[in-house]
């Protein structure tokens, strides 16, 4: 599993000198960590061809940053007349705040959070400014999103081909923990341009929720890398950070997800934790670790069964059993989907 080599290179760049370079590069590309790796390795002596791959990745990361911040700016312009708080989330937030986690960080969609009461107005304003509903979100999926999800069906900008996800909280409404959306917004921090980001502890809580209480752990290595970088920066800046994090995790009913995220980050990336957090690694933790590392040096996904188990888990987490059954039934009785 070359995901291990990738983890080692990120954690301790000087330790990789004579390694399976193509395997490292392919694993990093597949996990969307090539930009982060390229910056980590910037001052290491590497073969010329590898150096040029990393150089190109750094250039590409600069473009990703420009693009992410520009999408945020265009959303800001579209939503400014509404006067509602607009909170940047995930990668775009790290770039907007210039956190260490943004170094080399790729960004896919623009994720924002707004108060639930403003969702309709926000959607209308975005559509007015050139975003469109995606056709595939029509029908069942659209109803599902609007009733049960923590976000609107994704919109896509017709000229720039970039997607925006508009959230009103950080977990689906059907999930068992219920984060305090009002507190997330109330404690958010304003940036110079008027856009906002979550408070540092809430950023960690959201990252942990996204990694462990929502999806199927796809992209887990990158999410954990974010968490590692953020924790190091936040803990160094604020001696009371760990207490605040504990309090926020409790408030949002996400203590277990946060604790596991911390253990995994510590295990993989050596993230320094507070003394009181004893990172004893359980058997369940080992399964998470194995899933997160299920990538080989050709960039292929490995451990198909484990991947599938986590896929099923992601649905289980999101929905009460009866609803899950209905959801799977609706999906299964459609025309068989081509992949």
């Amino acid at each position: 599993m070359n995901a291990r080599l990738l983890v080692r290179a990120l954690r301790d760049p000087a330790s990789v000198t004579n390694c399976d370079w193509p395997g490292l590069i392919s694993a990093a590309r597949a996990e969307q960590l090539i930009g982060s790796l390229a910056f980590r390795m910037e001052s290491q002596p590497v073969p010329a061809r590898v150096a040029s791959v990393f150089g190109a990745a750094r250039r590409d990361a600069a473009y990703a940053r420009t693009q992410a911040l520009w999408e945020a700016e265009m959303a800001r312009r579209a939503l400014a007349p509404l006067g509602v708080p607009v909170i940047l989330m995930k990668g775009t937030a790290f770039h907007a705040a210039s956190y260490d986690a943004c170094i080399g960080r790729s960004v896919g969609d623009l994720d924002i959070m707004v108060p639930r009461a403003s969702l309709d107005a926000v959607e209308a304003a975005l559509i007015d400014a050139g975003w469109e509903r995606m056709k595939e979100a029509e029908g069942y999926d659209d109803v599902y999103y609007r009733r049960w999800m923590h976000e609107l069906p994704p919109l896509i900008h017709r000229a720039r081909d970039r997607m925006i996800d508009v959230h009103h909280t950080i977990l689906p409404l059907t999930a068992r923990p219920t984060p305090d959306a009002g507190a997330l917004i109330a404690d958010s921090v304003e940036l110079e341009n008027g856009l906002r980001i979550l408070s540092p502890p809430d950023i960690i809580v959201h990252a942990a929720a996204h990694l462990l209480a929502d999806g199927d752990l796809a992209g887990g290595l990158r999410n954990l890398w974010d968490i590692d970088r953020l924790l190091r920066e936040f803990a160094a800046a604020d001696p009371a950070f760990w207490d605040k994090l504990r309090a926020r995790a409790r408030l949002h009913q996400l203590e277990r997800a946060v604790a596991r995220a911390l253990r995994l980050a510590h295990r993989l990336y050596g993230t320094p934790l507070e003394k009181r957090d004893s990172p004893s690694f359980s058997i369940a933790d080992r399964l998470f670790e194995a899933r997160i590392l299920a990538r080989n040096g050709w960039g292929q996904e490995k451990r198909k069964l484990l991947r599938f188990a986590f896929y099923v888990r992601s649905h289980w987490l999101r929905m009460p059993p009866l609803m899950l059954a209905r959801h799977l039934w609706t999906k299964a009785t459609r025309r068989p989907a081509r992949s």
Binding site: P22, R29, R49, V53, A57, Y63, G299, Q300
Partner: protein, 288 residues
């Protein structure tokens, strides 16, 4: 992956993995005289793998994947595995190349100066470049031109030329049989046969050239020539580039330098011989 082959084309090194041996054997024959990448290093990885695990044996179909993969790519039959490998390498270039400004263009060189030919698929640039490559020009590439943004030079990417349908006969009349790959009939693009560039193109694949002339050839029309204005050249070249937008300011500056320094002509031509004659005329005029 079960099988592996490394290939270097110009400045770019590929690692190609495959679930089957046959496509890589065919690829190794086609690229027989190319240098191997240093120490097994690679810029890009290509994977030829079954679409589903059982499709390795039952009606084998080759999915084209790699560091960069397109969601809509359809698999090819195993009989077309060589084409799949070629497409896989092209795909990495189209999606992943960020070191050079990549133009979807054919280039040939003479006396250190390069001629760039670009146009939509089927415009005949590939055949024209291949033919010029046998007639006193050095073939730098039939598909991708790599513009070094710092120096303004073009770097060669002399992959095996992909000849389609009628172009196969044209080149068979010109080039010894040992430089051809197998003829692949019934591919999604019709009949395809790959042709290895000549020894000079391969021996000098580390050597760049300064651009001198930009042509927009179009095959199958009555002969016509017109000058192309700078704004149109700019538009056409950005459309011919997969990575222009991602290169930001450097790409903008490099493209403007290229356009400012080079005349551009659109040529319609009824047959390849006419085009070769036209190119020679323009080249003489440009040199004078």
């Amino acid at each position: 992956m079960r099988h592996r082959l490394d290939i270097r084309i110009g400045p770019v090194a590929f690692r190609i993995g495959s679930a089957w041996k046959a496509p890589l054997d065919a690829l190794a024959r086609l690229y027989a005289s190319y240098p191997a990448p240093e120490d097994g290093l690679a810029d890009f990885t290509v994977r030829l793998e079954p679409e589903r695990p059982w499709r390795r044996f039952i009606r084998p179909s080759v999915a084209i994947r790699g560091d960069y993969t397109l969601a809509d790519a359809a698999p090819l039959s195993l009989a077309h595995g060589l084409l799949a490998a070629e497409m896989g390498m092209n795909l990495q270039m189209a999606l992943g190349q960020k070191r050079y400004l990549l133009l979807h263009a054919a280039t040939v060189e003479r006396d250190g100066r390069a001629l760039i030919m670009t146009g939509e698929s089927g415009a005949g640039k590939s055949t024209l470049a291949a033919l010029l490559g046998e007639r006193g020009w050095r073939l730098m590439g039939d598909e991708f031109a790599l513009l070094d943004m710092a120096s303004g030079d073009l770097l060669p990417f002399p992959r095996a030329v992909s000849l389609k349908n009628g172009a196969i006969e044209v080149m068979q009349a010109e080039v010894p049989a040992e430089r051809f790959g197998p003829r692949l009939d019934g591919t999604p693009k019709g009949a395809i046969r790959h042709m290895r560039p000549n020894a000079e193109a391969i021996d000098r694949m580390g050597e760049g050239a300064t651009p001198a002339l930009i042509l927009f050839p179009r095959f199958g029309e009555t002969q016509a020539v017109r000058g192309v204005g700078a704004a149109e050249v700019f538009m056409r070249l950005t459309q011919a580039s997969t990575n222009y937008v991602a290169l930001g300011r450097d790409g903008f500056d490099a493209l403007n330098r290229l356009i400012a320094a080079n005349p551009a002509l659109a040529i319609d031509y009824p047959d390849t011989e006419t085009a070769v004659a036209l190119v020679e005329d323009f080249w003489r005029a440009r040199a004078a």
